[in-house]
């Protein structure tokens, strides 16, 4: 009797505490795969990429539709969506948030991300990317090369299962949000464009961002295709939460080494003995960043230790000779050091963006000093000396026979 009483009490409490309020059947859900946010004259346009679960496209893939709603604020636009959709919007498996370049430049991304973080129904691991197309909605309406739904294609490119290039660590919503609010840190976001929107990318390049090659590549690759196809168009550099420019394609790998500490990338470098180029793939890399006091000033140091696997040697190089291998190693080390230093100096001195988190290193070293100089950091950054200490071991040379 006592046990039965407890059981009834448990059941009553369970009912009172929950009341089935969260019950939401799957066939009543409107699954949102991606969101694109654009600015209009009165407020915001929010485009939602909705999965059509009852139909497939002619190729058999899952169909989707992009619906656009407007409002003075993003939540207001979402409210307007409710009046037009028969099912309940479901953001729990949201893959991608595309923010237009205009918003990122003019008002920053902090307030938008703040709203996303506050909404408990959203998945905080959604990818945040920029749009270099005319509107962010265009990116969602485009297709990936091998994946129809744009939100899924972007997520797969930004967050590949393997460690490859184009992997910026802080692209998930919660990580981007956190990075914005850490003293001295700046975010970088991957930018996506659509073929046919190269004009906009070129405009960005004209402003000193270096996006031209990336945009042109995307445009060129997909030339002649009828449907718009999305692709990576560069990496957006931020000062605080505001977009200040884009990094050229040739500096992407260096930025990833300097910022992300460990990526499997491939580098080609000139060989001094006999001429030509050799290629190695980084199999292991460790990059440590710290601030060093030198003669009353500060120097930003990068200690990079890497192992590279030789995957292509220039013809005529006798790899059975020890001096040839040592020369190859010296060439590779010198190349990497120069490449990283050039990129770091380009970012700090020409673009004047602290994309390598030098300010964060100052803050870590001396918080009071950072508080004193952070207001003047934009002026101090270009003058900051940068030092690269490179240790590179080229492995796999024994696999080559003497030519």
């Amino acid at each position: 009797m006592k046990a039965a009483g407890r059981l009834i009490l448990f059941a009553v409490l369970a009912l009172l505490l929950s009341g089935c309020t969260n019950y939401l059947d799957l066939n009543r859900l409107e699954i949102v795969a991606g969101i694109a946010i654009d600015r209009n004259e009165e407020g915001y346009n929010v485009a939602l990429e909705l999965l059509n679960l009852t139909e497939t496209d002619p190729e058999g893939a899952l169909a989707f539709q992009v619906a656009e709603f407007s409002g003075q604020t993003i939540p207001a636009a979402m409210e307007n969506a409710k009046g037009r959709l028969t099912k309940e919007l479901y953001f729990g498996n949201l893959q991608t948030i595309v923010i237009s370049r205009q918003i990122a430049e003019e008002e920053g991304v902090a307030s938008i991300l703040d709203w996303f973080m506050r909404d408990s129904g959203l998945r905080e691991t959604s990818m945040v990317v920029l749009s270099t197309a005319e509107t962010a909605k265009e990116v969602l309406e485009a297709k990936g090369e091998d994946m129809a739904i744009a939100a899924f294609a972007i997520e797969a490119i930004v967050n590949p299962p393997e460690k490859e290039v184009f992997q910026v660590r802080d692209t998930m919503l919660y990580r981007v949000y956190n990075a914005i609010h850490i003293e001295g840190k700046n975010i970088v976001l991957m930018a996506f464009g659509v073929n046919g929107s190269g004009e906009k990318a070129k405009d960005a390049q004209d402003q000193g961002s270096g996006e031209e090659k990336a945009g042109a590549e995307t445009e060129g690759d997909s030339a002649g295709q009828e449907e718009p196809v999305l692709g990576v168009s560069g990496i957006g550099l931020f000062n605080g939460d505001r977009l200040v420019g884009f990094l050229p394609q040739e500096n992407l790998n260096a930025l990833l080494v300097l910022r992300e500490k460990g990526m499997q990338q491939t580098f080609a470098f000139p060989v001094s003995q006999g001429g030509g180029y050799a290629t190695f793939r980084v199999s292991r890399i460790k990059s440590e960043r710290h601030m060093k006091e030198t003669g009353g000033g500060l120097t930003l140091c990068f200690d990079v230790k890497a192992t590279g696997l030789l995957i292509q040697a220039p013809p005529g190089l006798d790899m059975s000779q020890r001096d040839a291998i040592e020369s190859l190693q010296q060439d590779a080390t010198a190349f990497m050091k120069e490449y990283l230093l050039t990129t770091a100096e380009y970012i700090c001195r020409e673009l004047k963006v602290d994309a390598i988190d030098a300010g964060y290193e100052v803050y870590k070293m001396d918080g009071r000093l950072w508080q004193e100089i952070k207001g003047d950091w934009d002026r101090l950054l270009p003058q900051l000396p940068i030092e690269i200490n490179m240790e590179l071991h080229i492995a796999g040379t024994g696999a080559y026979k003497a030519s």
Binding site: A14, S18, C20, Y23, L24, L26, N27, L29, L62, F152
Partner: protein, 514 residues
């Protein structure tokens, strides 16, 4: 006179105690009265054991002692070939060659033999031989007279094994005890008869190994049996429901089996078995939760395979009780738990299904249980046809008619199949599964978590005759774990379950030298 009687009784008790401790070394004395008294002491509480005296019709002073186990011998043969010659032969004289005379002239059995030690007599008597004690002789005669059922019934349907013994208990209590006696040739095996049921007067028998059983558990059992006051006992379950701990719990606190080898194994671990006349199912106690996942075949197969099978059974139980509730919770409440591709697959399947998901799951599980129940009661031939109708036709038709989603059919099938892995827990699975489903349909994942917590706490509190079903011991050691999740090699199992047996040492000190 009185003083002499008590002195003699005390001497005998001491001798019996000494004999029990060192049975191999004590020999017969030649005093028939003393020998019979000692054997009565040795077989105290072994009620099937018969010790009787017979006299020769032509020489009334000539008295023989007979020792045998009822049910183990061929009654007709013993009567004709042993008792009749001893009682009716003429010219048997009480002399020093009496033993040889009987062995060679009176009772000519094909393998009659002499024995001098009590240990030989005990072993022979408990194995269906007849022992003849001869007055004035330090030799006893042993005649092979086994008449126990070698294969009483077929292998139990619900405890089938690929390897190992195929015998199963039948409905005869004496025959069932013979199965046990044949495996345990020791006087340490105690068998105590009782009668229960005012009208049915059903015989039951408590069996245990005296040197292993814990006295407090035995006492507790006897007390619980004493309070059974019912008009009839038709099956062992009648007794089980009366004496078990936590009468409302869906989990077992008393084990059941129809296999003699299983009962023998349990007795060797210090447990008690209860045989009921007319029932092939034997109760064993105390019962631990992990016994639900143990199969007798585990000990007849290589330990790697046995361990793998045991882990599979545990996983099967967990899946059987949680899969429907978890599916409901993540599909109707906590969708974000699902990876996106899986969510899309399930969501696509759910389109145009007219019923709420909770109702869909409940109804399909009920349909499965209906089919299962119908299949059990039907003849084998019709049962297979039923499976086809239920599994293929009904399932396929329901999916095509968009009444249920195909994902749910997979979930129900998975639940059903995994549930069959642990047949001993069918009741527990049924109750826990539906209760978790109700909790999940009210609160989603928090409900499921609460439900699991409820049952886990219940299990931790569950006892079987004072022994905790699941013991959480921080100071875990190998011997405690050797036969739980894993089945260790038999030569590494040195000890019996700690809380069950009085004597925990199972294996000698000998070590593998090769």
């Amino acid at each position: 006179m009185d003083f002499k009687f008590f002195a003699r009784k005390r001497r005998l008790e001491e001798k019996i105690k000494e004999l029990n401790q060192n049975l191999d070394s004590i020999e017969l004395s030649g005093d028939l009265a003393e020998e019979m008294a000692i054997l009565e002491g040795l077989f105290e509480k072994v009620d099937p054991m018969v010790l009787r005296r017979i006299r020769n019709q032509h020489n009334e002073k000539l008295e023989f002692g007979l020792v045998y186990c009822a049910g183990m011998i061929d009654n007709e043969y013993v009567g004709e070939a042993i008792i009749k010659p001893l009682t009716s032969s003429q010219g048997i004289n009480y002399d020093k060659n009496l033993t040889d005379t009987i062995l060679t002239q009176i009772v000519c059995n094909h393998n009659g033999m002499k024995a001098q030690k009590y240990s030989e007599i005990v072993e022979a008597a408990t194995y269906g031989d007849v022992v003849v004690l001869i007055p004035g002789s330090k030799d006893a005669l042993i005649y092979s007279t086994q008449g126990f059922p070698l294969r009483g019934t077929d292998e139990p349907e619900n405890e089938k094994t690929l390897v190992g013994p195929k015998e199963g208990f039948g409905e005869s209590l004496i025959n069932n005890l013979a199965f046990l006696h044949r495996r345990l040739r020791t006087n340490d095996l105690k068998m105590q008869f009782r009668t229960l049921g005012k009208r049915t007067r059903t015989s039951i028998c408590l069996c245990y190994l005296d040197s292993l059983v814990k006295p407090d558990i035995l006492k507790e059992l006897e007390e619980r049996l004493a309070i059974i006051d019912i008009d009839g006992i038709l099956d062992s379950n009648y007794i089980q429901e009366f004496i078990r701990d936590e009468g409302y719990s869906p989990f077992r606190t008393i084990g059941t089996t129809e296999r003699p080898d299983v009962v023998t194994g349990k007795l060797l671990e210090g447990r008690i078995a209860i045989f009921v006349d007319g029932a092939p199912t034997v109760l064993t106690l105390p019962y631990l939760f992990m016994e639900n996942f143990v199969n007798s075949e585990d000990y007849y197969l290589p330990f790697y395979y046995a361990t793998f099978s045991r882990v599979l059974r545990i996983c099967g139980f967990i899946l059987a009780v949680t899969v429907p509730a978890f599916y409901l919770a993540v599909s109707a409440f906590n969708h974000e738990m699902l990876p996106t591709p899986l969510l899309i697959s399930i969501a696509r399947e759910r389109q145009n299904i007219p019923f709420p998901m909770a109702l869909e799951i409940f109804s399909m599980l009920l349909v499965f249980d209906l089919l299962r129940e119908a299949g059990i009661r039907m003849p084998t031939v019709i049962g297979s046809a039923m499976s086809i109708v239920g599994g293929l036709v009904l399932g396929q038709a329901a999916v095509q008619a968009r009444l249920v989603s195909s994902v749910l059919i997979i979930m129900v099938a998975l639940t059903g199949i995994t549930g069959l892995l642990v047949p001993k827990m069918n009741t527990s699975i049924l109750v826990v599964r539906y209760s978790l489903l109700v909790a999940a349909s009210i609160m989603g994942l928090p409900g499921l978590t609460l439900g699991i917590a409820f049952w886990w706490v219940h299990l931790l509190n569950l006892r079987s005759f004072g022994v905790t079903q699941i013991e959480i011991n921080i100071n875990m050691n190998y011997q405690d774990q050797k036969d739980l999740l894993l089945r260790a090699p038999l030569w590494r199992m040195a000890r019996r379950p700690r809380n069950i047996a009085k004597d925990s040492v199972r294996k000698g000190e000998t070590r593998r030298q090769w």
